[in-house]
């Protein structure tokens, strides 16, 4: 039952790197927020500041209204799960989980009860006497999660906890963690640079870039209505075509489409699944490559100046490399100066035939 508030927090390292730049975020009680961004965007630094491992250069952080900005990590009601699990290899699983409880002077029978309970919760009942090194990667990561959960932290912090696991295991653990988090209603901040992870787990996503927020929204909104070209390019696949608008028409290297905005430069954004292609000899583009994924196909095409555009099609066998095509986008957005200036529809685009056919 806890609320985390981060207000105007910055971190400038002694070497001059600004890792986090006036960052603000409120995480509601029981909410899971994903920090998503490319490598070096300051996600880990932000999380480590919430955990107490880095001191903010400026700004304020509170948990349930209490200022924690300068509280050392051992006094914070936060629990952190590290990418490298960081289990103590000289202790067995039980001792790893019991260590924090012992420091809190919990009685031995109570420690045993709680440790066994949380091991049950992460699906490792009966593993208490195992040495940490005798566990698989996924099991180790579960023990690391259990080590934090057993102390019932107010805020759970996870820094790419599944990054070292294979795809299959990652998807399974992702669901398990989401289940546990929702069952315990624990307020959680989750760092990842995998967009699929963020889209499938988060209540809200924070897209970060160079230590700043680009957008904070629900996953479906981030996907459908990216507020900046950076977010548009980072989440999912997006064609970003830089061109010029004059008299309500966007044009780029022989391709043009109506765009009701004022004259000037603009970036046109179209998802591959929202772009229809028709074969035409006087086409605006030329097919470069066709990839057949079985359920659908992906056509790479080139505009006259070599700009690459991707389109999803339901019948890839209709297209051959070198063939001329014309483009008909069903949903577009346009950006200027890093902001969205036009969007065809705020509602979800109609499902593409390719997805229905499949």
């Amino acid at each position: 039952m806890s609320v985390l508030k981060i207000k105007d927090v910055s971190k400038i390292f002694p070497n001059g790197t600004t890792a986090v730049d006036s960052f603000s975020l409120d995480v509601a009680d029981g909410e899971l927020v994903c920090l998503l961004g490319p490598s070096g965007s300051g996600k880990s630094t932000l999380l480590r500041m919430v955990g107490g491992f880095e001191t903010p250069t400026s700004g304020l952080m509170t948990i349930d209204g209490e200022d924690i900005t300068n509280v050392p990590p051992e006094k914070r009601p936060t629990g952190m799960v590290f990418q490298s699990h960081a289990l103590w290899t000289h202790m067995n699983v039980f001792k790893n989980l019991a260590f924090g409880l012992k420091l809190r002077k919990v009685a031995a029978p109570e420690i045993k009860r709680r440790v066994e309970g949380v091991l049950e919760l992460v699906g490792l009942g009966g593993y208490g006497t195992r040495a940490v090194t005798q566990l698989s990667g996924g099991q180790q990561q579960r023990v690391a999660l259990a080590r934090s959960l057993v102390l019932e932290p107010k805020i759970l912090l996870l820094d790419e906890p599944f990054a070292s696991l294979d795809q299959h295991l990652r998807e399974r653990l992702r669901e398990e963690v989401r289940d546990i988090q929702q069952r315990l209603k624990i307020t959680t901040l989750f760092v990842t640079h995998g967009q699929d992870e963020a889209l499938s787990m988060a209540d809200r996503i924070v897209v970060m870039r160079d230590g700043k927020t680009e957008q904070i929204d629900r996953p479906d909104v981030v996907y459908r209505e990216p507020q900046t070209p950076f977010v548009a390019g980072f989440i999912g696949t997006m064609n970003l075509i830089e061109g010029v608008v004059s008299n309500g028409v966007f044009s780029k290297a022989g391709y043009s489409t109506p765009l009701p905005v004022s004259d000037g430069p603009a970036i046109l954004a179209v998802r591959p699944e929202a772009l229809d292609l028709t074969a035409s000899t006087t086409g605006q583009g030329k097919v470069h490559r066709v990839t057949d994924y079985g359920t659908h196909g992906l056509v790479d095409l080139e505009l006259k100046d070599g700009t690459r555009v991707k389109a999803m099609v339901s019948h890839p066998d209709l297209f051959q490399p070198g063939q001329g095509v014309s483009l008909a986008p069903r949903a577009i957005a346009a950006y200027r100066d890093g902001k969205v200036i036009h969007r065809t529809s705020a509602v979800a685009p109609a499902p593409h035939p390719a997805l229905v056919d499949a």
């Binding site: 051992e74 629990g79 952190m80 289990l87 924090g100 420091l103 934090s148």
Partner: protein, 273 residues
């Protein structure tokens, strides 16, 4: 594998080298060992005329032998404990913190061992003379403490640096104070390597003669110093031989320990191996 070994041409250089090494190391040990258990051994004979424990009884009946044994043990324990108490936190600071003069200080420990030791000792003895430390127990402790600095700083620094920082942070995260983290996480993680350093400094102190003699004589007499004076002043070889066999005991114990530590594999891990 065994078959190829058997058919391989004998490596004579290797065999000769091994034989020479064995001779150089083992032969003196055998001779000394034999002398220790000999009652009578006169010149032309290859083996002693009479074996026995007569000189063991005589040596062990001497008060100065017992007092030097207890002196050596007290000294080694004191020096090792002090050295651990001073050097381990210092090594941790070297491994984890960055402070001005860090590298210079770090290498100064090496410098102490890079110059001829006896000259350095004489200089120190001069200072100790003014401080009235000559011939005192604590004077000897001090000089031997300096001798252990190299092992007790350099080896633990490597061991601490090999400890995963995330493990320490995870311990802070669950509520451990920085000191508790050092005690419950860092020290056990670096444990085997540090045990080796402590062992080295214990044995090194036990066998050290130059400093002990120069600073301690004649009031403070360790077992090795007593042995040297026996060998120098007594016409009977057996006294010295018995003492030197006695001195093997800590070596054997050290070797047994070392075997355990090295076998566990964590020693190499301590060095990032």
């Amino acid at each position: 594998m065994a078959a190829t070994l058997a058919y391989r041409k004998l490596d004579w250089t290797g065999i000769v080298l091994a034989a020479v090494l064995t001779l150089v190391i083992v032969l003196p040990l055998v001779v000394v060992g034999t002398w220790a258990f000999t009652n009578v051994w006169r010149y032309p004979s290859v083996i002693p005329q009479e074996f026995g424990l007569r000189f063991w009884n005589q040596t062990l009946a001497r008060a100065d032998v017992w007092s030097s044994i207890s002196m050596s043990l007290t000294l080694s324990f004191t020096v090792t404990a002090l050295s651990a108490a001073i050097c381990l936190p210092a090594a941790y600071a070297f491994a984890r913190l960055d402070f001005p003069g860090r590298n210079l200080l770090f290498f100064s420990f090496l410098a102490g061992h890079a110059f001829p030791k006896f000259g350095l000792l004489v200089a120190i003895a001069g200072i100790f003379l003014q401080l009235n430390l000559i011939g005192t127990f604590w004077g000897v402790v001090l000089i031997q403490l300096v001798g252990t600095l190299l092992f007790m700083i350099w080896i633990p620094v490597a061991a601490f640096q090999a400890v995963d920082r995330r493990m320490e942070e995870a311990a802070r995260d669950v509520g451990a104070s920085p000191f508790r983290v050092f005690w419950s996480i860092t020290l056990p993680q670096a444990g085997p390597t540090i045990a080796a350093a402590i062992l080295l400094s214990f044995v090194g102190t036990f066998y050290e003669t130059e400093g002990a003699w120069l600073i301690g004589a004649p009031q403070v007499r360790t077992l090795p110093v007593l042995m040297i004076s026996f060998i120098n002043n007594q016409p009977v070889i057996q006294y010295g031989a018995v003492l030197s066999v006695l001195l093997w005991v800590p070596s054997f114990i050290a070797l047994l320990f070392a075997r355990k530590v090295v076998n566990s594999g964590s020693f190499a891990r301590g060095f990032g191996g």
